[in-house]
Point group: D3
Chain length 198, copies 6
């Protein structure tokens, strides 16, 4: 039985104004409110920290972006692959959708989620995902020897920090979503699957 | 790098007539030839055994069906869940598509593949998948104690054989598909996802 | 408690004639009927597919044998090692017996079953078993990099397909035997152990 | 080789004023600056989100505390146990120190880190740690059945959210500390170990 | 390549007299010298401790036997099962042979080694092996709850100590045999397999 | 609940004289009796074998020391690291204390126990611990290829035997301590932590 009944999401009208404002922006852009935005809003302080962290990693400001060159699609690829390793339904479906859209590749999310080694991605992206999986599953083994192969694919040390930090942050997200029984919005399942997706 | 270049699929015109006939039937019904049909046809004897086994489990004849009551959707649900455990891209995508169609539930395949415990399925189906996972991942632990809980959900001993055998057969299929680098046809990714799927 | 009481083997007189004929041949050759032949005969369609697959991999016809050079002993060595990894009592004991006989080495089956790395086998055979174990336990990791080391030991791509397919097929067999509680015939335990075994 | 040379901590004088202020407060209270405060400050936006999240979980405001009754010691116990499972040197040593101090038990941190099942803790605390470990290591398995045993020990649903969220947040922290090679300050190793620790 | 060339066994004539005496006794009784006796004799102090420990657990003196009722066969059954879990070739083959002889059951060793859950043993013996496997593979989880089920099968606390200690001691033996490349004497493979074994 | 009530330690006055003598020596040297000395004394034969083995590995006689150059600190480092892998509270705390004292490094034991890869040790010591961990966790994989890297760090074959044997012996000790619920003496937790520890 799903655990979500224990942690009911607040109604939009009841959340603090700063949170509501952000949610309305997302709704306007996406056409719906992704469930995580309301599910976490029951604890405003955690909500604010969560999305501040999310934004710092996924959409960093210009002045925080020196040497950080992961594309938006690559960031979502990391989320999709590591969330699949953590068996997080919400994040695989929601971020898989965003991955399809950013990469304009309708097939990529399922490939990355099931077995990224078989996915239609570049050797650079495969190296990125291998390192992300190491951080996800056995971070205690990360050491200096992991860096040169990533440098060889053009990743800077700041990029590598991003790979690690995105993996670590969504490991938090995966655990909370599985724990609290967050279900992905129905809209995510189909997004970006049509061949001509904008 | 994909291994499929080592085992090129024959062209349809070059396969033995009995195999070609079956493939043409599938093509007519589906609108395309699922890649596994051609990929395995390079060894006709294995092809024939593979599909004979497949049919015996997935579409048994009437006279072999006494006490066997798994629905077609349930059979595909077993394939999707256990293929995800084996990280088999071909089977998750192809059988996930068939699962969506049989169950007329556009969301179910992704749910079952990522984490069947969070899927919108019945307690009976969850018990079925838990047993399938045990056969998939630790068959040496199966014993008499596994049966009463399955009986309590209405499964007969023949149903339980079916759950085990479907899991075992697709474990073979998963290993061959991953080994030989079989990629799912593009068509499978989108099949059964539209809300009004027939 | 053993689960075999749920799936009683039919009597020989009650199985379809084509199956009975094959069983009688085996009995004549071996001096007894290996239990798997009767245990699976309760479902004739599965029996036929199972043994057709078995024969296609273990005793291929001449015209299907181009480039396929695994010896009979090597095929059984794969079965013994991977069945031990799956903790399948039936297959380790039955195929271990056949392995001893084909290889004329009374000690080899126990060595391969307990820890093939310590067995008295060639480096070529060890490489073969390492690849078989990868297909058995983590087939999602198989990729192009697995091939050159096998080629270096003289294995062709068709041999490698055989290693993978034998592993995959007996993975099916292991799961069914453990699930259905098949016990090896007493005869197998001693076969091929005497130093001068014919 | 440690990876920390790749991500040198900024000097205190170079960090943004809001961050510097907080760090100076910590230094005043503790007598030293825990390394994580400077190590993460190289990316101010992540620093702010990290410590906002930390505070929301570890020292929640009064108005966010309804139904949340984990003691400070229990919160640190969760961090110590799960950080040990993730083999994070920084967090085990630093939070183990804080655990000793809050609980006024000089031996507890080593016990909880090595094997919490042998630690001198209450059955309630053991149940808390078992659930934390499940969230840490197999969050995909969490379901409704985990709640009644925790309720029986007096944990509210808000407490259970806290257990899960603390585990999830420090899972992030563990991965970043191991990745970036953060070493615990020498001071932590000895803190709270003297029998008469205030 | 086997590591045994690095640690050549001394010749019998070169070992200290007390060790030689014991070895000659074993040779007289068994008809051959089990390899472990010479392999460990290169370090006499370790040899003496090893066999003193072995004897204290496997053939305890009368005055050390109060409340200790494991049969000799049960002791060897523990060794065979846990050595198989550790994949120790020497111990599975050598102690499997002794197990067959003590139990007068030619099939039992292979059954216990491959999957003790399928072996022809009593429920009491299965409970004994389950506990031994817990000590072997996850001793940190052993706790008070493990005792009542063992008591229910008639095991005393001294018997339970024996189960744990035999498992622990042969865990040492398994690691040394695998490390040092000890191969079982050929004689062991066939011992006790004939139906009328004395 | 701790299992130690089932196996109460004898009083010092009740143990055999040879055992009492050794215990009194240890008490004089350490200032207290480490719990393992009394806990195991309930079975004198096992006690004698245990400590004979311990001494043969940890404080070998001069005439048994040819080619054996591990320092006392290195020996304790192996114990601490592998006992942490086995989650043995007694051995991590007790031998961690001895490690701190021998190495005169107050921080080293916690580092080695939590994640030896992050510890302040030499590359030689890290290689030593990697091999010890292999013997501890997957001894069936040890083979000839493990030796050259150890030789390159100056370890002799006798040193390598010591690494393996210390690991194997304390694997026994870990299992017995966890099984029997041995708790480390309070004294161990603080020993060697003060910067000027003699």
């Amino acid at each position: 039985m799903n655990t979500s009944h224990r942690y009911p999401a607040p109604e939009l009208k009841d959340v603090p104004p700063d949170i509501r404002e952000r949610i309305l922006q997302v709704q306007e852009k996406s056409g719906f409110i992704p469930n995580v935005f309301l599910a976490l809003a029951r604890r405003p302080a955690e909500w604010r920290a969560f999305f501040a962290y999310h934004d710092a990693l996924m959409t960093p400001d210009k002045d925080a972006s020196a040497g950080r060159n992961l594309s938006k699609g690559e960031r979502e690829m990391i989320v999709t692959a590591t969330s699949a390793a953590n068996q997080c339904l919400y994040c695989v479906v929601a971020h898989g959708a965003i991955l399809r859209i950013y990469e304009k590749k309708p097939l990529i999310a399922d490939q990355v989620a099931v077995n990224y080694r078989k996915a239609d991605i570049t050797p650079r992206q495969r190296a990125m995902l291998e390192f992300a999986m190491k951080v996800c599953l056995e971070s205690h083994l990360v050491d200096e020897a992991d860096f040169p192969p990533l440098h060889a694919h053009g990743f800077s040390d700041e990029d590598i920090w991003d790979i690690a930090a995105i993996t670590a942050f969504f490991g938090l997200s995966n655990r909370m979503a599985s724990f609290a029984g967050m279900m992905p919005n129905n809209e995510f399942y189909l997004m970006g699957r049509a061949p001509r997706q904008k």
